[in-house]
């Protein structure tokens, strides 16, 4: 009986957010008096397993085989389920990414086991694992437990810090074979336009967000644009030339409100909120965002919120630690300059 921590890999390296699964696994393993087994599939898994040891895995089960070189739900779930059958871990933990969600939910069906999804806190009581999670857009919290010998847990990004590193630790590593071959799959990946190096909103420590107010850019739109087209041009120019420089100084990701996305100011992958991404950065700077309840649902978990809005009555100020009432097109460049001066 161990606790499995699933480490996600991409292009022969561990996704750094995966180490958060080790942090969550550790809180369960300690309470149950057991250790952590890192589960690592894909290219270069032996080297990644060595890193997992430094983050506290006593052992690692790896599968570095052609059939597993690229993440595929069917091959990964089949092998994970077999390993759970064989090793009967008390828990299987992964970060709730698009992979982590589908992989654990599928293996939980294979193993007829309970799954607690998007957990933000974990504890063990009388030997059973209890996960706390947010519901109703964070207006309510709930606790869930599972009654099966193995409990599947996906954890919300940034809810569990990675464990401290012990550079001397060496895990025992076991190499296994794939459960099914990729030639048996009923689907093929034709293309992946990966943005390597792009900052993932869910992992970002700092987020600078823009809303509908981005359209009130004093920069003059090209003369041939008018009405909504001119608004879109001004807003896009603002995201690129006013918010991005601030984000660059801070190493931040760019977020947006739904109003900005729906108006065509910025692509949907930047949307924060109930029908966008749920984020919990250390610092969230909301610029020209009113702070509607559906937007709050996505960013209420931020540690420190800064609001810049020209309307002193905007609801976002109620949530903010610091507020500046003013025109974002004056405040943001001033803030960027002040930070540059301070950080250089």
């Amino acid at each position: 009986m161990s606790v499995f921590a699933c480490i996600e890999t991409f292009a022969s390296a561990a996704e750094s957010s995966s180490w958060e699964a080790m942090g969550a696994a550790q809180s369960i393993a300690e309470a149950l008096g057991t250790d952590i087994t890192a589960i690592i599939f894909g290219e270069n898994s032996a080297a990644i397993a060595a890193d997992a040891g430094k983050f506290g895995a006593a052992s690692a089960i790896i599968c570095d085989a052609d059939a597993m070189s690229e993440y595929r739900l069917e091959t990964y779930a089949a092998l994970l389920s077999n390993l759970i059958d064989e090793y009967k871990p008390a828990a299987v933990v992964a970060v709730a990414t698009s992979q982590g969600r589908e992989l654990l939910a599928s293996a939980a069906v294979d193993c007829q086991s309970g799954l607690i999804a998007e957990v933000i806190d974990l504890r063990v009581e009388d030997g059973s694992i209890i996960g706390a999670r947010a519901a109703y857009a964070g207006k309510v919290l709930m606790e869930m437990s599972s009654h099966t010998p193995t409990t599947f847990v996906t954890v919300r990004g940034r809810a569990f810090p990675p464990p401290p590193i012990n550079a001397a630790a060496k895990p025992s590593i076991k190499q296994v074979s794939p459960a099914i071959l990729d030639s048996e799959l009923k689907s093929v990946i034709d293309d992946l336009s990966a943005e390597i190096g792009a900052i993932n909103l869910a992992d970002a420590a700092i987020i600078v967000s823009g809303g509908r107010g981005m359209a009130n850019n004093p920069a003059a739109a090209p003369a041939d644009l008018s009405g909504e087209e001119a608004n879109i041009w001004r807003a896009k120019d603002g995201f690129a030339n006013t918010l991005q420089p601030l984000a660059d100084v801070l190493g931040a990701a760019i977020g947006a409100s739904r109003a900005a996305v729906d108006a065509g100011y910025i692509p949907y992958e930047h949307q924060v909120g109930q029908t966008g991404k749920v984020v919990s950065p250390d610092l969230y700077i909301a610029c020209g965002i009113s702070g509607a309840i559906q937007h709050q649902a996505g960013m209420r978990g931020s540690k420190v919120i800064v609001a810049i809005n020209k309307d002193a009555e905007a609801p976002i100020f109620k949530l903010a630690r610091y507020g500046i009432v003013g025109d974002l097109y004056e405040v943001v460049p001033a803030l960027t300059d002040a930070l540059k001066a301070r950080l250089s």
Binding site: V109, A117, Y136, D191, G326, V331, L335, R342
Partner: protein, 260 residues
């Protein structure tokens, strides 16, 4: 050719939701809406059924609370609605839920494609979709932002998925289960005629016996609901003679608070 979608009612996203003295979640007498993520899956179901020259069906699992979402789906233009309700089955557990859902899909027998919304806006577990696909043994494509091509005669689908690392294009064999993202389409509004037709519709209810399945034991239970701790919101409004002074003060504060 048959496209099926699942949906349910969720409290209006603007509603105040709280835990009452009995420890239950309530949103007072504010109404429910169709799960907002499902507006996109409902639209896509209508489009795909039309494209394949086949039928569209919407299914809700659970109590008659979900009739509102089913009626909204019918009003949008989904052809058939049904509800699976089994007293005694804990459909809040996703293993129980997926057993009932898979039973319904097997009973329909001719389903090519099942389309889900990304998640339920209230419980936001995003697990029902995968567990249904796994029980059926069908291909699963999550977070689809565009269906590039479907050929129901040949039994193929090509779709673009929106992943953390970028966009991935996948070709797969049908039958398949997919979940779709906001932005895949522009959901239509129900028109007056649709609303009238939906209001009159009788929605059949299937039990586990109708599906010919036995219900598995629930693997999980919700222990308790509680209110989140109040956010410490001592807002400091930063004023100053000019924006330069304000910006400098804000930077000082952020450094003092060690967020930078």
């Amino acid at each position: 050719m048959h496209v099926v979608t699942f949906t349910r009612s969720t409290p209006d996203t603007a509603a105040r939701v709280w835990v009452n003295d009995e420890g239950e979640v309530t949103w007072g007498d504010v109404g429910t809406v169709v799960n907002p993520w499902d507006e996109y899956s409902l639209e896509e179901t209508i489009v795909q059924a039309k494209h394949g020259g086949g039928e569209s069906t919407v299914i809700a699992i659970g109590s008659d609370l979900h009739n509102d979402a089913l009626k909204h789906s019918l009003a949008m233009g989904i052809q058939n609605a049904l509800r699976v309700d089994e007293t005694g089955a804990d459909a809040n557990d996703s293993l129980v839920w997926s057993a009932l859902a898979a039973g319904a899909i097997r009973k329909l027998d001719d389903v090519d494609l099942v389309i889900f919304g990304k998640e339920s806006v209230d419980v936001a577990t995003d697990q029902h979709t995968y567990q249904l696909a796994r029980r059926l043994g069908w291909t699963m494509l999550n977070f689809v932002s565009q269906i590039i091509e479907t050929d129901y005669a040949a039994g193929t689908i090509q779709a673009q998925k929106m992943l953390e690392r970028g966009n991935q294009v996948v070709s797969a064999r049908l039958p398949a289960v997919i979940s779709v993202m906001k932005g895949i389409n522009e959901p239509r509004y129900p028109n007056f005629l649709g609303i009238r037709k939906a209001a009159k519709a009788q929605i059949p209810v299937w039990s586990a016996a109708d599906l010919g399945i036995s219900i598995p034991a629930a693997a999980t239970s919700a222990l308790r609901y509680f209110s989140p701790p109040e956010r410490e919101t001592a807002t400091e409004m930063i004023s100053g003679n000019n924006v330069k002074a304000q910006a400098a003060t804000l930077v000082d504060r952020l450094f003092a608070e060690k967020v930078l």
